[in-house]
Symmetry: D5
Subunit: 161 residues, 10 copies
């Protein structure tokens, strides 16, 4: 597994620009987690937004801009055709990534049970989905607060969705 | 992989009691996600809380109560010595569980990048951690909102934590 | 991995009843693929439907009926809380099962490209989903015709779903 | 795992031509899913068709044309000798691809049971096979409709096929 | 992975009967490899043949007879619904089994190339298939001669099979 | 896993020569399956045969000739020191290759049982071994006939081999 | 993976008898490593030897004696039909077992190169094979000396073995 | 997994020199198996020996000499810091390598039992270890004789080693 | 993977006795980590120590005492013949266990480099080895201090150990 | 898995400088294990320290210095964003690395039990963590002494950390 090649280009330009994802997200008017996912090849956008982001980080690599808009070797040439989830092994050995997986391993069944209890038989969509990550001050040490916010999708034995 | 044997006992008693995790959590004064995790063998508690929960769901199986308090075959006999993460294969094939993993696969790198940007080099603790799951009404379909809330732990090359 | 215990009970009763899934599906007014999935522990239903199915196949095993309705060891005691996908190893070694996987391996990228071309960036839902399997007469040998019919879910960088 | 090298060439030419698989399929008189599979190295064709496709997308890379016709490093030099199924890891992490796999995991046993019930002991061929993918308008959100259409092949203990 | 339970019953009865697969195959008028596969749960037969085999080996275990005919826990209750390929891990550690796999690993690509050269793009069916195993006398040590005999199935981009 | 580099050279020369493995095998006086295996890096030969094969396909790449004779990066520089079995993942996803594996999975135990019954405790050698693949005309569709022909090797608890 | 059930019976009887494998091997006139392998289900013997061994360790469990002679659930009922290699996971986590694997990982290529250099292209048979394990006194600490002694089998492109 | 780059250099030089490992081992005064392991990146030596070996095979590639002495990309720059065991997949598919693994799988438990019986609880060291491989003439076919000779290391619950 | 059966017996008796491993270790005069390892089937002891431990925790289960001394189903009947490392999956999902593995993944290469730098080419023995775990008070939160203390074993190309 | 590219640059410069990690650690005032981890891409530092280390080893490769400070292809461009744990396969085949893993496999459960007994339910942090490796003289052979020193983190069902 590896990142598409344009990710390093984008990340290097962002580093050179000195702008944070937070600042960039405000500048281009997009959600911060989504924007970071785009920089790792896990989201795709339209041409106008791709151009705006490239300009904001001073990136003039046309291939990287095309790749953000879903064209090029990284996304097999069809609109939106990126391959998500390529950047890291699973389960991840990097400790920061691993803790996300561990939270799922330890609390996943509890979440599943609560979804079934609060909604019935179904899932939290990971497509009709948004996420935020915030730094929350705390006297015992500041905290990372991540929200997963996905539409409930129910299983059905009829066509009544 | 399988649930410890006492989980089915607890879950059957809870079903018979007709009480939701939400109601039980309020009755015993514990967080709802934590309580659900306890029912799946992914958390442990003290004797008093174990007894209170057992009473609330009308469970008189002493072994199950002991297991909640960290004693018995399910937890190799030492205080707090449960083995977390046993209940499901990884990656999970159940669609409800899988979506949690997918969210991590698609957004994990973004979260990691934002943690490093907002805090520096380190992780979100999955131990000094709490979680909530809520149903949020939405005209386009109600949504599942999960929060992961963990203390930031930094890597250090000195003893200054 | 193994089937929940109640599956053998249901399947044995169905065999004894001499009724096909097709006939049963018509008798209980449910889709045929969904009904077959229920017999393998990959779907769940309400109490009334569970009772109707049990009666149709002459099954008087109360635990099996409860399990169809999402209660018992097979589904960890919460409504709809069955664990789907437990019945077979992956990739499957059974040739009939393997061919389904092979079709996905050989044509999956083509389907993905066509989805992106016809709809944009997104997925075919496997939850808001229905399926049929028919026998189609053919002079060169009858054919199996399976339809996968799922709602398109798009990725978005806004809240506009 | 990776795509053969000529796939990026073909996909880039197609992107530059602005033609959809649907339009191309009509232009060259071939099935759309088959044509998309060819672009991902999962199908092979004769010289005339390869030339016609190359012309339709304005591709003048001789190696890519040869590869479509089953010659070159991508297919080890024998007629039809392509290696199918190389383009993605299994199970796939990309969500669009994963849902195809999930449908098989959740409904595969049901399909197998129905095949046995409607035909007897055997399989749906994945070779004597065709597939279509359509966009079906739906007021609750348009749907992806995929058909798997394969000849039934029966197991036999005699030579009577 | 393990053999279905009825296999041990059948094999024990066969051992007690003192009959070889060769003799049994002649007695019941079925191919020898197919018959051996049936004893390991990798084939299924009709009621009459199952009864004939049971009688030939002096087996009066009704469940085992039913299982040969595709009914019971070993085959999830539908006609022909046995799960093939369950009896051994893959790749196999047993040396006798491993050598079959090794022959495929070392000569598989050669066979594939020859199939493509002699037939075009396609496969040897493993369903429309028969196999024999013979002992061939040889002054340098007798030899095992196995034949794999399967119908060629071609890939096609039209409906012309 | 990948083919040694010289395989593409040999296969391209063979393709350019227009000769089939069958014709080449006759021209150089070697078995056809063995010859095809040589082209995929799964066999090795002496200098004279390597030179004869190279001449027959018009290949003047000295490194490829050396590699056929067991010298070069592909075979770590010792006589006969090629590494067999490198060319494809296991289990293979390519359908033509997979069917060979499937035949072993479904019939392997039967073959093992017949070997034990006809010879006693031992194996079919995959080294003292030869194989053929033929096209057999059949009115219901021509068939692929593969023979595995290996010396029986017995286990012994004495030195009496 | 697990030992066949009769192994514990045999080992318990041997422990009760107080006899070492060395003493037993001399008593029954068989090689010591072979005898130990028999106790772990990795070898099989004739009825007379099985009876002699059983008597020597005071074991009167008929099923265990039958299993040594290749009959019963442990060996699927055909002569010599035991399944070797079942008793431990691979790679083994037990340190004593792991060191054998490690020696192969570190020195395997060297052995392979020396075999090719001293014999030509081929293998050391693991079937026409014997092994010994001795304790060799050494002032720096006694040493374990294991010999692997297998017939060389050559690859050939003719029938000249 | 792959060999460090300098291995091909060393092996090519050795091939060109026409010297066997046996001859080289005598020339440089080192054990033959150890020397072969060095050529595959599984051993390391001092500068003087590295220079002597390089001279003996006519290798003037300084990087390769440095690598033998534990310096360069192949060994991450620290004395003795080579990474052993990198050259082949595990379990190995090459038949010559596989047989070594198979011997361990079939006889490993027997060896372990004999070590415990002859020495007590402990292991055969694979570090304080030496190995030889010889060709032993035999009228029934010459034999490969490999010795594994490692110091016994005992487990202890005190500091008395 | 699972603990040998006697472990639950021993742990339950210890829990009932109310004694800590620290107290028990002092009472029986053995190292604390070693003693805990014994309770999980990862160490073995002599009869006298086994008896002393059993008495200290009030355990009168003879089979458990035998198992501690290396006899019974848990250790295949030979002295010291326990199988270490059976109790948990690898890599472990339990967070407490996982952190030990993570420390090795993140710092293992550093330790290896330091061993090579301070000792030369070799390893830290995990057999001639002892370990301690202490609670160290710290105003920022008490700390777990684990020591790994193993004899250095050097690789050698001579017999000079 | 592989080391980031800058690691070889740093290690080569260090080798050329002739300085040990011990000497370097003292020169730059950082812990030795941490420093070694930095050289393998498993730690990150600030610009000033990176410059000081580069100067100490005479490295003037700007990209390598940037990489130590968390910028460049090796760390995807965000502060502290290195990916830890990339340098070796897991479980490792290199014997020096493997022994660390083995110690965890054999003693991990004992450590976990002692943590629970001495602290309660929780973990040893691998982030708020330090480690040392020392050479300890011993008349029976010098010993490697590694300390793992991590803060205890407790699980809690309240917010009281």
């Amino acid at each position: 597994m590896s990142y598409p090649a344009h990710c390093d280009t984008l990340l290097a330009a962002k580093t050179a620009s000195g702008k944070s994802f937070d600042a960039l997200a405000k500048e281009v008017g997009k959600p911060e987690v989504w924007l970071a996912a785009l920089f790792f090849g896990n989201a795709v956008t339209d041409d106008a937004t791709a151009a705006k982001i490239a300009k904001a980080i001073g990136c003039d690599d046309e291939a990287a801009v095309q790749a953000m808009a879903g064209r090029g070797p990284g996304n097999v040439g069809v609109a939106g055709g990126i391959t998500r989830g390529r950047g890291w092994e699973w389960p991840p050995r990097d400790p920061t990534l691993y803790r996300f997986a561990e939270a799922v391993m330890v609390y996943g069944e509890a979440w599943k049970a609560l979804i079934h209890e609060k909604f019935g038989d179904g899932i939290m969509s990971a497509i009709t989905f948004r996420s935020e990550l915030k730094r929350v001050p705390d006297p015992n040490g500041d905290r990372v607060l991540i929200t997963l916010d996905g539409k409930f999708l129910k299983y059905s034995d009829t066509d009544d969705w």
